[in-house]
Symmetry: C3
Subunit: 201 residues, 3 copies
C-alpha cells in the first residue's frame, strides 16, 4: 500500500510537470501554468470520485496531492529552461503515473461495486481525464482523441485488471500485472510510434 | 415504463451514432470516435445525476447504456460508408431520443422535488448536455449555442411537462404530451429551417 | 447574513450580465446568450457544491439565482445597445461579486472542514469557474489563464480569509477583510493594468 502511494505521488508529480509544460508552451502566465499543472495531475481522480459519489474527492481529503502539484508546477514555471534535460526522462515517470492511476481507479471502482465496463471506464478516466481537461482549457482537441495510443494502454490494463478480478486473482497481483501492461504498452508505443486506425474518409 | 425504457435505448443509440459520426468527420481515431459516441449518448443524464446527487449515475448503474453506445459507435466507425443512407432517417430517431430524454430528465427532477425552473433546466440539460460536451471535446462552439432550435424544442417540452405536473395532470399523460411537443417542434424546425433571433450588433 | 445575500445577488446579476455580453459579442442566438449568462453567474458555486458533496447545488435549492440570471441575460439580450453605458460601471459590480463569491466559497469550504489549500482552491473556484466555463463554451482559452490578475485578487482574498480563520479571527471580520482585499486588488489591477509574470521562452 505504501508502495502504491509512493508510485501515486511519482505519477502526480510527472503529470503536474507535463501540464505545467503545456501551459508554458501556450504562453500562459503563472496562474495558467499552475492551474494546468494541478488539473492535469488531479483532474482524472477528481472526476472519478464525483462519479462514484465519494466526495470531497481524494485531492481535497489528502492535500498532499494539491501541495505536490502546485510545487512541481511552480518549479517548472521558474526553471523550465534549466529543466529541459528532464523532458525525455519525464516520459518514463509519466508512464509509471499512467499505470498507477489506471490501477488505483479500476481498483476503487471495483471496491465501489461498479460493473465490468463501468470499472474499465473509471480506470481509464482516472488516468486520462486530467489530460483531457488540460487540453480543453488550452482550447485544443484532446490529444488522446486524435493520435495517441495513450488511452489504449490504459484500456488494456484496466480490462486485464477487471478480468483477473473476476477470475478471483488476488488484488495486489492483478494490480501489478495491470500496471506493468499499461507501462509496457505505453513505452512501446512511444518507442515504435504506434497509432490506432482512423476511419476511411 | 417498459415503453419509456425502449424509447430511451432508441434515443441512446441515435445519440451515440450522431456523436460517432461527428468524431469521424473530425478525423478522430477509433478511441476518439468511441469516446464522442458514448459521451454524446450518456453525458446529459450523467451530469443531471451528478447535480441531483444520484450517484453513481444511471449509466454506471445500468450498464446497458454504456454497452449500447460503445457497440453503436464501433459499428459506425467500421461501417460508416455503408451506413451513409442512415444519415437522413437518423434525424427522426434523434428527435425521438430528444423527446424521451427531456421527459425522463424533467420527470426525475420533479421526483427529486426540484422547483419549477430547476426541473426545466434539468430536463433540457439531460437532452442537450451530451451534445455540448461532444462539441467542446471537438473544439467547437456548441451547436445549440449558435444556430439551432434544438434546445428550444426541449425547453417547450420541459416547460409543458412541469406546468401539467403543477396542474395535477397524471404523470404518463404529461410525459406523453411533452415528448410529442419536443419531437414535433424538432422535426418542424428541421423541415422549415427555423432559427432563434440573434441580438442586433 | 442578509447583507451577504444582497451582495451575492448583486454579484450574480453582474456575472450574468458579463456572460450575456460575451455571448452577444460571439454572435450567439437567444439561447446561447441565456446559457452563457446563467453559467457564468452560477457555474462556480455549482462546481464547488458538487466537489463538497452538497447537492443539489445552491442554485437548484434557492431558485432566486436561476431566475435572476435568466432575467438579467434576457434584458441584456434585448436592450444591450441601450445598456452600453453600463459596461464601465459593470466592472465595479463585477468586483463586488468577485469579492462576495470568494468569501462565500472559502467560508463554505471551511464550514465543510476542508484543509488550508483546499479552502483556498474552493474560494477561488467559486469566483472564477463560471467564467472559465463561459470561455470554454465560447471556444476560447479561459481569460484568467492568459492575461488577467483576476484570479490573483481571488487568491489573495481567499488566503487572507483562511489565515485569519486559523488565527481565530471572528468569521464576519475575516470575511469583510477578505472581500475588501479582493475588490481592492481587482479594481487596482483594472486601473493600473497589472499583469502576472510569464515564463521566458
Amino acid at each position: 500500500m505504501s508502495l502504491l502511494y509512493t508510485l501515486d505521488l511519482i505519477g502526480t508529480a510527472a503529470f503536474a510537470a507535463s501540464g505545467a509544460w503545456a501551459g508554458i508552451r501556450r504562453r500562459m502566465d503563472l496562474l495558467g501554468v499552475l492551474v494546468l499543472g494541478v488539473v492535469t495531475a488531479t483532474g482524472g481522480g477528481t472526476l472519478r470520485d464525483i462519479l462514484l459519489g465519494d466526495v470531497p474527492p481524494f485531492s481535497f481529503k489528502d492535500e498532499t496531492y494539491l501541495y505536490l502539484s502546485f510545487a512541481v508546477a511552480l518549479v517548472v514555471f521558474f526553471c523550465h529552461r534549466r529543466l529541459e534535460f528532464l523532458q525525455h526522462p519525464l516520459q518514463y515517470f509519466d508512464a509509471v503515473g499512467l499505470g498507477t492511476f489506471v490501477v488505483i481507479g479500476t481498483g476503487k471502482a471495483l471496491a465501489f461495486e461498479m460493473g465490468f465496463i463501468g470499472a474499465v471506464v473509471m480506470g481509464v478516466m482516472t488516468a486520462t481525464a486530467g489530460g483531457v481537461i488540460r487540453d480543453v482549457l488550452s482550447n485544443q482537441v484532446p490529444l488522446i482523441l486524435r493520435k495517441e495510443v495513450y488511452a489504449s494502454a490504459c484500456i488494456a490494463g484496466a480490462l486485464l485488471m477487471v478480468v483477473l478480478h473476476r477470475l478471483g486473482v488476488d488484488h495486489p497481483v492483478a494490480a501489478l500485472a495491470a500496471a506493468l501492461v499499461v507501462i509496457a504498452v505505453r513505452l512501446l508505443a512511444v518507442r515504435y510510434n504506434w497509432a490506432l486506425p482512423r476511419a476511411e474518409q
